[in-house]
Structures are given as structure tokens and as C-alpha cells.
């Protein structure tokens, strides 16, 4: 655990001074987990509000603007309402799996959040296989969706879950391969190292054309992986009602709902980290103030989040077979060719570095 900001350093020193080492590190872990839970909840609620306001803006409506300043407390109110609601279930459902499903989804999102370098040394844990960890953990979520669809004893939920399974397995490939293209440039999977490499130019500049192609593929397949429109086959509301979470209510539904938004944040944060230099400021203008890194990281991520919301409120939904055609016949071959081009480029030293 590397935490470089002075206040956390103070807490760290105080904890190690006040209690034995094992207790101190345990307390620290719990504290960090709580901080990340806080980030998780706030980010989720904020993104829901952002989505609603942006949707309203796209659709010439006002959106929620009554609860709190500009509707800032609206999602809090919604969360409170969901907390107080009855948890319904279906008869003959597989109760164990049905209850387990939301936690799979939420835990996978929460775990993925912990490796991001929000600013210099502000990272819960910096493992040397960071990128691999991200891809692995973020695909655990689909198990939750499959379990939810299976455990609900509802045909619509089952169709939604099966679609989700197909979709995630397919698009996982593109997500992985497009990130792999960038790993050719960095030579490391560790996220802090990837940021370090980008001090001589963001990767999207360093890798120019193949990097831009990889970025586009990543955003498309990332949107598909988070099951958002135009790839929201899983919960296609005009076809399947609410898809896999048809039978969920109250807080269990809220877990699915929050996880969707956090997943979107995660995909955009990965793109920020790998393509846009994470917390690095453009041309190093705020290099001396590490805390501003958080600002740059969030700014870049939110701009990508906006892009994904733009997709959602503009495009119609694809059909399931078109979705698979897009992946297997177009994105995947393009991706493989792109990797070769990138490899040749790195070999011939054609990258742009400042």
C-alpha cells in the first residue's frame, strides 16, 4: 500500500506507533476499504445524477433539479427510497443464487476500483500485473448477472443473462487485445509504471495511429462490456422488460444499478490510465502539485463517461446477432492486425516521444 499524501502518511505513522504491526496494518486495510466504499458510493450516486441530467439535456427536458442544489441530493433520496423498499422474490427461485448475485456484481466493481492511480502514489495497491488484474476482476461481474438471471426463475431474466454471457465473453477479447496493443508500448502491466512511461507523451500520442485504433476499439468493446446502450441487450427494456434484474427490488436492484455506473466509470478510468496519461496534466503544467492529479484524472475520465452517455442517448440498440458479427467479424480481426502493426512500429522505433 503506497499512500504518499502527507495526511495519510501521518495516519500511517500514528497507527504503527500506537499498536503492534499486525493490528496496525489490519486497521489500515479496513480504513482504506472504508474510504474506497465511500468513493464507490459517492461516485455511483454522482454518475447516476450526471446520467440523468445529461439525458435530460439531450432530450430537451430539465431532469432532476429540485432536491438539493441542482438536484445534487436526488440520487441520495432515491437510494433512501430503495433502502426502505420491500425485498421481493419469486417462488421456486433458487434463493441462494438469487441472493448471491448482486454481491458478485458489486464486489467485482469495487475490487477493480482499487488499482487506479488517482494521483501520484494515491493507489490502494499497485501490483505488477495491474492491467491483468483489472481485466480479470471486471469480468467476474458477469457471473453475478448469469446467477441473477438463472436464480430468478424468470424467462425474461434468463434470456437477458444468456445474452450477457455471450456478449461479455465475446467483447472481453477485444478489451484485452486492445489493452495488449498498448502494453507493447509500455512494456509493463503495472499501472504506476504505465503512468511513468507516459511522462514522455501520453500513449495515444506515442502510439499515434495504432493507438487511436486501439482506443476506438476499446471504447466500443468497453461500452459493450458494461452492457450499456447501444449494446444493452441484457436489459433491452423494449424486448425483455428489465432483463436480468426483472425480479430484483429494493437495495438488491440498487446494487445492480450502481454497479452498472461504476463499471462505466471503470472502463473510462482504464482508458484514461492507458491512453490519456492517468493523472498527468497536459504538457506537465501542474507537475509540481500532485494533488491536482486527482482533478486531471477525474476530468479525463468524466469526459470519456460523457462520451459513453452520448452513445447511449443517441444510438438505437443492436440486435444480438449483429452484436456478435461486429465483434467476431470486424473488431477482433482489426485488433489482431493492429497488434502486429503496433509491434512493428515499436520494433522500428516509430513512436512519437517528447
Amino acid at each position: 500500500m503506497i499512500i504518499g499524501l502527507s495526511i495519510t502518511r501521518d495516519i500511517h505513522d500514528w497507527l504503527y506507533g500506537a499498536m503492534p504491526e499486525w493490528a496496525a496494518s489490519l486497521t489500515e486495510m479496513v480504513l482504506i476499504a472504508l474510504v474506497y466504499l465511500g468513493i464507490f458510493a459517492v461516485a455511483g450516486l454522482f454518475l447516476v445524477l450526471l446520467e440523468r441530467r445529461i439525458a435530460a439535456w439531450f432530450q430537451q427536458r430539465l431532469g432532476p433539479n429540485r432536491v438539493g442544489f441542482q438536484g445534487l441530493l436526488q440520487t441520495m433520496a432515491d437510494a433512501l427510497k430503495l433502502l426502505s423498499k420491500e425485498l421481493t422474490g419469486t417462488t421456486k427461485a433458487d434463493t441462494f443464487l438469487y441472493n448471491l448475485a448482486p454481491y458478485f456484481v458489486i464486489i467485482s466493481s469495487l475490487m477493480a476500483l482499487s488499482v487506479f492511480p488517482f494521483t501520484r502514489e494515491f493507489q490502494a495497491f499497485d501490483i505488477n500485473i495491474g492491467l491483468f488484474f483489472l481485466i480479470a476482476v471486471s469480468s467476474i461481474g458477469v457471473i453475478g448477472i448469469l446467477l441473477g438471471g438463472w436464480g430468478s426463475n424468470n424467462k425474461y431474466a434468463l434470456i437477458g443473462a444468456m445474452r450477457s454471457g455471450v456478449q461479455t465473453i465475446s467483447y472481453e477479447l477485444s478489451v484485452g487485445l486492445s489493452l495488449l496493443t498498448m502494453v507493447l508500448l509500455t512494456g509493463t502491466l503495472q499501472l504506476s509504471q504505465i503512468v511513468e512511461v507516459q511522462k514522455s507523451g501520453w500513449l495515444i500520442v506515442q502510439g499515434h495511429i495504432p493507438a487511436i485504433v486501439a482506443f476506438m476499439i476499446f471504447m466500443i468493446s468497453g461500452t459493450a462490456e458494461t452492457n450499456r446502450a447501444p449494446f444493452d441487450m441484457v436489459e433491452a427494456e423494449s424486448e425483455l422488460g428489465a432483463g436480468f434484474h426483472t425480479e430484483y427490488s429494493g437495495m438488491k436492484f440498487a446494487y445492480f444499478f450502481l454497479a452498472e455506473f461504476i463499471n462505466m466509470f471503470i472502463i473510462c478510468a482504464i482508458a484514461t490510465t492507458v491512453f490519456f496519461g492517468a493523472w498527468l496534466s497536459p504538457f506537465g503544467i501542474t507537475e509540481s502539485i500532485p494533488l491536482l492529479g486527482v482533478f486531471w484524472f477525474l476530468l479525463k475520465t468524466l469526459m470519456l463517461v460523457f462520451l459513453m452517455m452520448w452513445f447511449r442517448w443517441t444510438f438505437p440498440r443492436l440486435r444480438i446477432d449483429q452484436l456478435l458479427t461486429l465483434e467476431w467479424k470486424y473488431l477482433l480481426p482489426m485488433n489482431l492486425v493492429n497488434i502486429v502493426i503496433m509491434a512493428v512500429m515499436v520494433w522500428l522505433n516509430l513512436t512519437i516521444k517528447f
Partner: protein
């Protein structure tokens, strides 16, 4: 023995799924019994009757003025055209000549109703294929029309503006200027519809070559309206049996020969342009005169059978009255466009995916109270 068990374990089975009566894509209380193999549709059986209110039976009890009010509740999106159909039929039976002013106003309001219905359809069509924003764009433009209707007759949806013999009230002094304002506004909005949805690659991929209906089938299933015209079957009642002031105007009947979902979609978009042009031709030439011919308080139709058909936003609506000379009809039958259009759903949706079914159903433009009555 062993191998057969494995085989039966891995058999892909058709299963049954209940779409509706509460389902977002059926736009009302229609229930579809789907037989599906994975995602592929094997059979669609519509199950009707969830909103049956026996309107035809109620008509046998009511006077002719009252019947007009019942027709609003059939195809509520083209309420005014339904009213017009009954009024025209009664006027035909009474051999009543309505003033020119009435005929022109009826046509203008009828075409505006068609535009408003198509606006809503367009919004919902987008929503059915997953583009939620279209819904709000469609409703934004429809809102202007509803305001005009409200100013004219006090109601926004179920208008009851027509009565046998003319109109309930004269038009509002603002009517002409507001309609012109709407025409100018809407002319900039249909290209926006095209940019947002029609020209979208995903939308075209979703709709082209899906739910194909041949011209022969369109005729034999009794399809009418944009559904039939999308298959190249020219059947516009406004062209072949012009009523009200439609014989004075010049307009085209949009026809497509592909017969797929996209063809039906484009026919409706073109119809909006045509309706705009009809309104434009008439709005400056509303003749002066009476807005109503006085009729007796109790209308009694002469003994006999009368039929009048009109073109609603969904197709051909027929009103068939059998009168025995009393104050209410002996039997009244509505030939509703939605019913025959729904009947071909099984024919065109089989073999497609669930998503195709939803897109196809959206272009049939079903209004369930029109089917159940």
C-alpha cells in the same frame, strides 16, 4: 442407451414466453404468446380482449350524436378521423350537404391528427429499437399540435370536434396563424428526425430486410395504410374515395416496394411531408360560411345500410351502419385497420429474433383499443 441420454440432454427445446399484457413493447394491453427457440421466433399468437369495452354493442343503444364520442376511444391517436368517419356516414345516410368551410376544416384537422399520430409513432418506434431520445423529440412536436387542438375545441386527445352536420364550434381566431407556425416549425424537424434515426447505420441494419411482407400477402391479409403501402399496395382511401375536401388538394401517395420494416418506416415519414403539404394548401383558403348545418335533435336514419370509409393514421377505417329507422343503429360495425394489420404479425415475424419482432411490431403501429374496441 447412454448416447440417447446425452442426446436428449443437449436437445435444444422450443419454449414458450408470454409477452404482455404488461410489456413495454406491446404499447398497451396486447398479449402475445411467443414460441421461441433460443432467440428465434417460431410462432406468434396474439391474444386479444384485455381492453374490450363492447363499443359496437354500446353503439346500438346510443343516439348518433353519442356514437361519435365513443369512437374517440377506439384509435385514440387518430380520434378526430374516427369522429369524422361516423359523421360522414350519418351525413351520407341523411343526404346532408355540409358547408364547404366544414369540409376544409375537417380535412385540415384530420391531417394534423395524422401528423400528431405519426409523431408519437416515430418516438415510440425509436424507443422500441432502443433510441430513447426520439421519444421526447416526437412528443415535443406533438405538443404543439395538442395545444392547437386544445385551443380549437378544448380537448387535446379525444377531441369530439365533429358532429353530424358539421363541427361542434367554429375555429379559434388564432387557429390559422398557429397552424402556419407549426408548419414552419415542423418542416425543420422532419430532417432532424432523419438525421437522428433514419440515417443511423444501426437503425438501418435493424430494420432493412426485416419483417418482409409481400404485396400479395398484404392484400390477402387485408392490410391497409402505411403497412400495405410499404409493400407496394396502393390503397389510400384519400386518393381512391376522397372525402371532405381531399378532392381539392394535390398530394402523393408514398409507396415502397421492399415491404420490410424500413419501407413501412419511410412511408410514414413521407406521409408526414404529404400531410404537411395538404394542410399548407388548405390553410390559406378556408372559406367563410356556417360551421354547422342544423340537424334535428334526434337523428333518425332512413331504413337501410350505409358504409363510409376513411383513412386514419393506421389505415382504412370503415363504418358500417344498419338502420331500421330508429334513433340508434340496429347494428354498427367498425372495420378497424389495427385488427387486420395485427393479423399478419405471425406471418412476418416468424424466423426473426426477439428484437426483430419488436421492431416489426413498432412499424405495424398498433393501438390496442382500436383492435379490441
Amino acid at each position: 442407451m447412454e448416447s440417447t441420454t446425452i442426446k436428449s440432454n443437449f436437445k435444444s427445446e422450443e419454449y414458450f414466453i408470454n409477452m404482455g399484457p404488461q410489456h413495454p413493447a406491446t404499447h398497451g394491453v396486447l398479449r402475445l404468446l411467443l414460441t421461441i427457440d433460443g432467440e428465434i421466433i417460431k410462432k406468434v399468437e396474439p391474444d386479444l380482449g384485455y381492453i374490450h369495452r363492447s363499443i359496437e354493442k354500446m353503439c346500438e343503444r346510443d343516439s348518433y350524436q353519442q356514437i361519435v364520442h365513443l369512437t374517440d376511444r377506439m384509435d385514440y391517436l387518430s380520434a378526430n378521423i374516427n369522429n369524422e368517419a361516423v359523421c360522414l356516414c350519418v351525413e351520407k345516410a341523411l343526404e346532408l350537404e355540409v358547408p364547404e368551410r366544414v369540409r376544409v376544416i375537417r380535412t385540415i384537422i384530420g391531417e394534423l391528427t395524422r401528423i400528431s399520430s405519426h409523431c408519437l409513432w416515430w418516438g415510440v418506434m425509436g424507443m422500441d429499437v432502443g433510441a430513447l431520445t426520439t421519444f421526447f423529440y416526437g412528443f415535443r412536436d406533438r405538443e404543439m399540435l395538442n395545444d392547437i387542438f386544445e385551443e380549437t375545441c378544448g380537448a387535446r386527445l379525444t377531441m369530439n370536434y365533429n358532429v353530424p352536420g358539421g363541427l361542434m364550434f367554429d375555429i379559434h381566431p388564432n387557429f390559422v396563424s398557429r397552424v402556419k407556425e407549426f408548419i414552419a416549425h415542423f418542416k425543420t424537424k422532419i430532417p432532424e428526425y432523419d438525421r437522428l434515426l433514419t440515417e443511423n447505420v444501426i437503425f438501418q441494419k435493424r430494420t432493412k430486410g426485416v419483417g418482409i411482407l409481400s404485396r400479395e400477402d398484404a392484400i390477402s391479409f387485408g392490410a391497409s395504410g402505411p403497412v400495405a403501402r410499404g409493400s407496394g399496395y396502393s390503397c389510400d382511401v384519400r386518393k381512391y374515395h376522397p372525402y371532405s375536401a381531399l378532392d381539392q388538394v394535390d398530394f402523393n401517395e408514398p409507396l415502397r416496394t421492399e415491404g420490410d420494416t424500413f419501407a413501412r418506416y419511410s412511408v410514414r415519414i413521407e406521409e408526414m411531408w404529404e400531410s404537411l403539404s395538404i394542410v399548407e394548401q388548405l390553410i390559406d383558403n378556408i372559406p367563410e360560411g356556417e360551421y354547422r348545418v342544423p340537424t334535428k335533435a334526434v337523428i333518425k336514419l332512413p331504413k337501410g345500410e350505409y358504409y363510409q370509409k376513411v383513412e386514419t393514421a393506421r389505415g382504412e377505417l370503415g363504418v358500417y351502419i344498419i338502420s331500421t329507422g330508429t334513433k340508434s343503429p340496429y347494428r354498427l360495425k367498425f372495420r378497424s385497420p389495427g385488427f387486420s394489420n395485427l393479423s399478419l404479425l405471425n406471418h412476418i415475424a416468424v424466423g426473426g429474433k426477439i428484437g426483430d419482432l419488436v421492431a416489426t411490431m413498432a412499424t405495424l403501429d398498433l393501438v390496442i383499443p382500436d383492435i379490441d374496441r
